[in-house]
C-alpha cells in the first residue's frame, strides 16, 4: 500500500471565509493535501463561480454546505445543487434537519449534528446514515478554537457519535471546516489530534483519505455510466 492521499472536505473561501480559494489551495498543497473541497454555506455563495485550477496531484473539488431549517426546503435545495457539485454537505444542528439529511441518499456528509444537550445522533439516525451512505463530518475548527468547558462538551459529543458510528458502521469524514488559512492544519497534525481525541489511527486515515475518495468516485461516474450497477465498458476494459 502506498502513502495515502489526504483530502480536506470542508473549506470555506470568500465571501464565507476570509481567504480566497487560490490562497487556501496553495496553503493546502504546501501542507501536503491532495485535494480540498470548497464548501461555502449556501446562504453565502460567491457571485460568480470560482475558476478552479487543478495542478498535478492537487485538485479543488466543488462543494456546498446547505443551511436550511425546513426539511422539505432542504430536500428541494439538495435536488437543486446535487448535479452541479462534487460534494454535498448539510449543516445540521436540529433534530429535523439531521433526520432529513441522513435519510436522503443524495447527501454526502452531515456536519455539526450536535444541538442543545444532544450529540445529534441516536441509533435510529445512525442506522439511517449507514443505509443511505451519508457520512458524519468531524470538524476541527470548533475543537481548535475553544477551550475548557466548551471543548469538553465538543469532545464528549464526538465520543458519543464515534461509538454510534462504530456500532452501525457509519463512515466518518475528518475535515478542517476552515474559515481562513489559519484554521488549516497539515494531515499529520490532523491525524495526531484525531488520535488524541479518541479515534483509532486507521479510522482517522480512512476519514481523511478512503471515504473522501469514495464520495468523489460515487459523484463522478465514468464515461460509460448509465445507472447504478449498469456501466458500458470499452473493449479491453473487461478484466
Amino acid at each position: 500500500m502506498g502513502k495515502p492521499k489526504f483530502y480536506d472536505f470542508c473549506v470555506h473561501a470568500i465571501p464565507d471565509g476570509d481567504n480566497t480559494a487560490p490562497e487556501l489551495a496553495a496553503l493546502a498543497l504546501h501542507f501536503g493535501y491532495s485535494g480540498i473541497t470548497l464548501a461555502n454555506h449556501s446562504d453565502k455563495l460567491p457571485q460568480s463561480r470560482h475558476v478552479l485550477s487543478s495542478t498535478d496531484g492537487f485538485e479543488v473539488f466543488k462543494g456546498i454546505e446547505l443551511v436550511e431549517e425546513n426539511p422539505s426546503k432542504l430536500h428541494g435545495l439538495i435536488g437543486k445543487f446535487r448535479k452541479s457539485v462534487d460534494v454535498l454537505i448539510v449543516h445540521g444542528g436540529s433534530e429535523t434537519v439531521n433526520r432529513a439529511a441522513l435519510e436522503n441518499p443524495r447527501v454526502d456528509i452531515l456536519n455539526h449534528p450536535a444541538f442543545d444537550k444532544s450529540s445529534g445522533l441516536n441509533q435510529v439516525l445512525a442506522k439511517a446514515a449507514a443505509e443511505n451512505g451519508v457520512a458524519i463530518g468531524l470538524t476541527l475548527r470548533p475543537l481548535l478554537n475553544s477551550r475548557g468547558s466548551r471543548r469538553i462538551r465538543l469532545l464528549s459529543d464526538l465520543k458519543a457519535n464515534l461509538e454510534l458510528a462504530r456500532k452501525y458502521e457509519v463512515s466518518l469524514v475528518l475535515s478542517s471546516d476552515a474559515m481562513s488559512g489559519f484554521d488549516l492544519r497539515s494531515p499529520m497534525e490532523t491525524l495526531a489530534l484525531a488520535e488524541v481525541c479518541g479515534l483509532e489511527e486507521d479510522e482517522a486515515i480512512d476519514a481523511m483519505s478512503t471515504v473522501p475518495e469514495k464520495i468523489i468516485s460515487r459523484n463522478r461516474p465514468g464515461p460509460g455510466y448509465i445507472r447504478e450497477g449498469v456501466e458500458v465498458l470499452e473493449e479491453g476494459d473487461y478484466f
Partner: protein, 127 residues
C-alpha cells in the same frame, strides 16, 4: 553535578516547524502559547510526560524537543495552537528526527526556497 550516563538519559525526538502568523512573534511568546495549549489539550500530567521544549526559534522557523514516546501527543498539542499574542497563528510541523543535526539538515536548510512564498502570501492577505 555529574551528568547522567548517555544510556540513562531520556530519549528525545526533535520536531522542525514553521510558524505562519498574522503578526510578529518572539520566542518567549511562542513558548508561553505552546505550553498553555499543551496543558489545556492534554492536561498537566500528560503535558509533563511530553517534556516539550522550544529549542530555537528565529525567522519563522525552529525546533521543538519532546519525549520520543509522546510525539503524537506533542503534535496534537502544537496543532491546537491557534493564537500568539492575540494574533492568529498556525504551527506547521515539517518533520521529526532523533537528532538536532539531522532535523536541521533534512527539514530546515532546504526550507528557504519554498516556504516564504506561501507564508508571505497568506500573511499579507490577512493584514
Amino acid at each position: 553535578m555529574k551528568r547522567l550516563l548517555p544510556s540513562l538519559r531520556a530519549k528525545k525526538r526533535y520536531l522542525a516547524f514553521e510558524l505562519i502568523s498574522e503578526g510578529p512573534a518572539s520566542r518567549s511568546d511562542l513558548v508561553k502559547e505552546v505550553m498553555s495549549s499543551a496543558s489545556s489539550l492534554l492536561g498537566d500530567v500528560i503535558a509533563s510526560e511530553c517534556d516539550i521544549k522550544v529549542l530555537g526559534f528565529e525567522d519563522w522557523k525552529g525546533i521543538i524537543q519532546c519525549s520520543h514516546t509522546k510525539v503524537k501527543e506533542t503534535r496534537a498539542s502544537l496543532a491546537a495552537l491557534t493564537r500568539i499574542n492575540g494574533k492568529r497563528a498556525t504551527l506547521h510541523i515539517l518533520g521529526t528526527s532523533g537528532t538536532v543535526k539531522r532535523v536541521t539538515e533534512k527539514f530546515l536548510q532546504n526550507l528557504k526556497v519554498f516556504e516564504p512564498k506561501v507564508e508571505t502570501k497568506s500573511r499579507t492577505t490577512e493584514e
